[in-house]
């Protein structure tokens, strides 16, 4: 394993020091427990939006702290949920009178740790709610399983809920818009290689030279199915139909299409996939009116891509378009 690190045990904290140096205008970092906070001061009457999870998915979540998006991000160890004390520290630093919404990706660890923190904060008299995003159609949704994972849709959720919080919506309304996004967003991922977690030092799984994991998560867990490598047209068709048939999206829908690099896949391929996906959606009468392309929800150096489709109405489109100023997403200011 060759990586730009000093010590697997300190890689997350060491990286946060660079993040803090690079973006001191937007955010500040507190250490032990590690939390990333908006640089501007906490505002009375504004709902605090907080997210977090295992590290290794950068820019998720720390790169989305700033105006119009997250008030705090709580980075856990690599691929490991942060602990409740860190989440509590983020809540304490950002939450005043209007309460807080915690955005949690649906993994047992994240759900348990964030819910524990929310309970403890509620016991302190704060109105702290959690929403759990579970947009990955690769996982069968059933009460007999841990349920679907939260993946690419998380970025869209953080942006849209962040815009609602920024414009002063009350907690009920921020929560409602968040639940609307969760209800209307679906994702699927594929991987060509496995990520290497620093403290393990070897790839999380092995793939043959023409094997592809279909329905991959973002933690190096293998996908739902192993398929043969195929041309981009066929692969993207497989992904688009998995996503479209799930919600299902229908003819006439306006959608946001988000084509994501899992980290190691070059941008040239991500745009290539995006172009194909847009065409395949258009063939089905689905209208892509908003676009996002790039490495936003990654799994370290894993090669692969994911597609996320969010059905838009005018409220969601407006919130998406609202100004945002974070290290990784910025427009309108």
């Amino acid at each position: 394993m060759k990586k730009v690190i000093n010590d697997p045990a300190t890689v997350v904290t060491d990286s946060l020091r660079g993040l803090a140096a690079a973006h001191s205008d937007l955010l500040r970092v507190e250490y032990d427990p590690d939390v990333v906070l908006r640089a501007d001061t906490v505002v009375r009457g504004r709902v605090a939006l907080i997210s977090g999870g295992g590290s290794g998915h950068e820019p998720l979540h720390s790169g989305f702290v700033g105006h119009g998006m997250l008030d705090a991000a709580v980075p856990g160890a690599m691929f490991t949920s942060p602990t409740p004390d860190a989440v509590q520290a983020a809540i304490k630093a950002t939450t005043v009178d209007a309460g807080a919404l915690l955005i949690v990706k649906n993994y047992t660890g994240d759900v348990l740790n964030f819910e524990t923190a929310a309970e403890l904060a509620s016991a302190d008299g704060l109105d702290v709610r959690t929403v759990v995003i579970d947009d990955d159609v690769a996982v069968a949704d059933s009460t007999f399983t841990a349920g679907r994972r939260g993946v690419g849709g998380t970025v869209l959720l953080e942006k849209i809920a962040g815009a609602a919080a920024e414009r002063g919506d009350r907690l009920d309304d921020v929560e409602a818009v968040a639940r609307k996004v969760i209800g209307q967003v679906r994702s699927i991922g594929v991987a060509f290689t496995a990520p290497t977690v620093p403290h393990i030092g070897e790839p999380s799984f092995e793939l043959g030279p023409d094997e592809v994991e279909f329905g991959i998560g973002i933690h190096g867990e293998p996908g739902r199915e192993r398929i043969k490598a195929e041309p981009a047209d066929a692969l993207v068709e497989r992904m688009v139909s998995a996503v479209v048939e799930d919600l299902p999206f229908s003819r006439g829908d306006d959608v946001l299409l988000f084509t994501n690099s899992m980290g190691g896949t070059p941008l040239v391929e991500v745009y290539l996939a995006h172009g194909i996906a847009e065409r395949l959606l258009a063939d089905r009468g689905i209208n892509v009116t908003r676009h996002l392309v790039g490495p936003y929800v990654t799994s370290l150096e894993m090669q692969g891509i994911s597609l996320t489709v969010l059905r838009l109405d005018s409220e969601l489109a407006d919130l998406w378009d609202s100004p945002v100023n974070t290290p990784a997403l910025r427009w309108g200011m």
């Binding site: 427990p33 295992g54 856990g76 160890a77 690599m78 691929f79 490991t80 949920s81 942060p82 602990t83 409740p84 004390d85 860190a86 993994y107 047992t108 660890g109 348990l112 740790n113 524990t116 690769a138 996982v139 069968a140 007999f144 399983t145 841990a146 994972r149 977690v197 403290h199 393990i200 999380s204 799984f205 998560g217 933690h219 190096g220 867990e221 293998p222 739902r224």
Partner: protein, 208 residues
């Protein structure tokens, strides 16, 4: 024989040592069906527990409660809140007592199991730590007439078998469940760590 606070401390020391020894094994078990961090998570947590054991509180319950808080804040992942809750419920079950007899140890184990189930909603057969802990509690109950060391030995044996029983299972909770049918054929890492912890407790009790 009954356990005082110092005995619980000794058991936790033994647990920390065993977890450290099996760090790589636990992580390797978590790689094919999970995200390859269970050994790291457990080791980070128990190393932290170890570092808090210098000052010994005066009751077994207090020792367990400190361990619970440390595990909740240091392990992370799914295992952190689950083991944390288990230790917290165990602590509550025996709070106030200055020594734990066999009855009390079984009560603590059962409370721990109930805590895991309350938090994680897993049932036996879902291929989780519950598959090790649940038969362990039954075996402890059955052996409680033979004293603390013996009941913990019986619990550890049952946990070993229970952990093995996860191999053919299709996981229905935790990350492994994302794999569907592909999760079958693997030993669940959390079940294995539960078995290791119980074996460590039995070893420490046997020594006392």
């Amino acid at each position: 024989m009954a356990c005082a606070a110092g005995d619980v401390v000794a058991a936790l020391r033994e647990a920390a040592e065993v977890i450290a020894e099996h760090r790589v094994e636990l992580t390797d078990l978590d790689r094919p069906i999970g995200d390859g961090d269970h050994g790291e998570n457990m080791n980070r947590g128990f190393a932290a527990v170890l570092s808090t054991l210098e000052e010994v509180p005066d009751t077994p319950g207090a020792v367990l409660k400190n361990a619970a808080t440390t595990l909740i804040s240091k392990v992370g992942g799914a295992a952190g809140p689950l083991y944390g809750t288990a230790f917290l419920r165990a602590a509550t079950a025996v709070s106030g007592k200055s020594e734990l007899d066999a009855e009390a140890v079984v009560a603590a184990l059962r409370a721990g199991l109930e805590g895991v189930v309350a938090r994680g909603k897993a049932e036996p057969g879902d291929a989780t730590m519950v598959d090790a802990l649940s038969p362990a509690v039954e075996a402890a109950e059955a052996a409680k007439g033979d004293g603390v060391a013996a009941l913990l030995g019986a619990a550890a044996d049952a946990a070993d078998k229970g952990a093995e029983s996860t191999v053919p299972l299709v996981a229905r909770k935790g990350r492994a469940s994302y794999l569907g049918e592909r999760s079958a054929g693997h030993l669940d890492p959390g079940a294995r760590s539960t078995a290791l912890l119980l074996r460590a407790f039995a070893t420490a009790a046997g020594r006392a």
